[in-house]
C-alpha cells in the first residue's frame, strides 16, 4: 500500500471511528486522491499521514504533546497546497 492509499485509509478511519472533523477529512482525502499532484511532496504527505494516524483532539492537553491536533493537520494541508 503506497503512502496515498494509506492516507485515504487513515483519514476514513479517523473520520468514521475517531474525532477527525469533516473540515480536515475532506481536504486530506483530496490529497489522498490526487497522487499525481502531490507525488513530488512525499515528505509532506507522509507527515500528513502520521498526523492523521495520531490525531487527538486533546493533543495539547497535559504536560507532553504525544499526538497531533487540528492545528497541526491544517498547517500541513496549507503547506501541501503551497507546495503543489
Amino acid at each position: 500500500m503506497n503512502v496515498f492509499a494509506r492516507l485515504e485509509h487513515a483519514v476514513t478511519d479517523q473520520f468514521e471511528h475517531g474525532d477527525l472533523p469533516q473540515w480536515l477529512a475532506d481536504p486530506a482525502l483530496e490529497v489522498a486522491h490526487a497522487p499525481e499532484q502531490y507525488q513530488d511532496n512525499e515528505y509532506l504527505v507522509e507527515l500528513l499521514l502520521e498526523q492523521v494516524e495520531d490525531f487527538d483532539v486533546y493533543a495539547e492537553a497535559g504536560c507532553c504533546k504525544w499526538a497531533y491536533d487540528h492545528e497541526d493537520i491544517a498547517r500541513t494541508l496549507k503547506w501541501l497546497k503551497e507546495a503543489k
Binding site: Y43, E46, L47, E50, W66, D72, T76, W79
Partner: protein, 376 residues
Amino acid sequence: MAVYLDCNATTPVEPSVVALVTRFTRDDFGNAASPIHDYGLFARAAVERARKQVGKLVGARPDEVIFTSGATESNNIALLGLMEHGVKTRRRHVITSSIEHKAVLEPIEHMHRHGFEVDIIPAGPDGRFRVEHLAQRLRPDTLLVSTMQVNNETGIRQPLDAVSQLLAGHEALWHVDAAQGYGKELEELRNPRLDMLSISGHKIFAPKGIGALIVRKRDGSFPALQPLVYGGGQEQGLRAGTLPVPLIVGLGEAAKLALREQPERHATCVAFREEVCAILAKLDAEQNGTEEYTLPHCINISFPGITSAQAIKALKDVVAVSSTSACTSHTQASSHVLHAMGLPASRVESSLRLSWCHMTPQVDWDGVGAILRNLR
C-alpha cells in the same frame, strides 16, 4: 576504487536521507526553536516526526528520545550524567564489561577517578561478556550497569536477555550502547527493562554528527540525569544547543527505512556473508568469536602469519577493511576487545574486520584470495 567493507566504522548514506538532509539544509532551514513563523513551525514538525521515527524502532515514546551528536555523546550523558545522583544517593557502584567501546570505558574511568567503584566483567573467547560475573558483582548500591548490544569489532550480539532477567527487580539503571545494533536487531531493544539506549546515525545510513540517547521512564519518572552542556534547555534540559534539523531529519528517515526494509537488508547481508565465509574457509582464516552470535553483516578473522597492517595495505585497492574500532585504529593500539576475549597476541595482531551492508557491491573475492595467499 576499492569496495568498502568497513560498515561497522561508518555506513554509506541512503540516497533518500541525502535528499532530505539537502532539502533541510538548503531550502527548509528554519530553527525548530522558533515556531513563530512557518520556517520554524516546519522545522519543529520535521524534528518531532523524526523523534517518533527514531523511538518507534525500539518502542519508545517521542519524549523519550533525546537527540545528541552521536553515540559517544549519548554514552557520556548516560554515564557522567548520573554521577551527581550517585553521590547524593550514596550509590556509587558501576558495572560494565571489558569489551565495551572506549566511549563507555573512558567515561567510566572518569567516574572511577571521582570516587565511584567500578567492576569490569570479563568476556570469553566466544566474544560475549560473562553474565555470571555480572550476577556476582551486582550489589544493592549498584547505580548503573552499562553493557553493549553488539560488539563493534566482532559483530557479536551480547546476552541482553540474560542481563534483563538478572536485573529484574533490581534498582540499578541499565544503559545499553546500541550503536552497532540499533536499526539491525530490532526486538531485543524493545525490552522495557532497558533504561537508556545510545544510538548513532552514521551506523544506520544517516550522516555523522547525529545520534540519540533514548531514556525510558520508569514508574513515570526519567532517570535522574544531569546535562553535560548548559545553555538553552533544549531536549528536555538534557542537551542544550540549537537542534541540527537536517541531521535529525536524516536520522529519522534512516530509522524509517531501517524498520521498513529490515527483512530485505538482513537477507542481503546473509547472502553476502555466505560468499565471504566461502572464500575465508579456503584461506584457512580463523574467526574471532562464535559464528552463532555474530550478526550477518560483520566478521572478525585472523590470518595466521599475516599481520593486520600487511593485509590492509595489500588489499587496499580491492577492498577497504579495518583491524579494530575506527575510534582506536588511529592510535595503532591492538584491539582491547580481542585481548579481553583471551585471544593470543599473535592472533590479535593478525585480525581483520570485514563489515558490509545492503548497499555493498560485489567483491572480486578471487582477487582478495590471491593477494592474501601471496602474503604467506
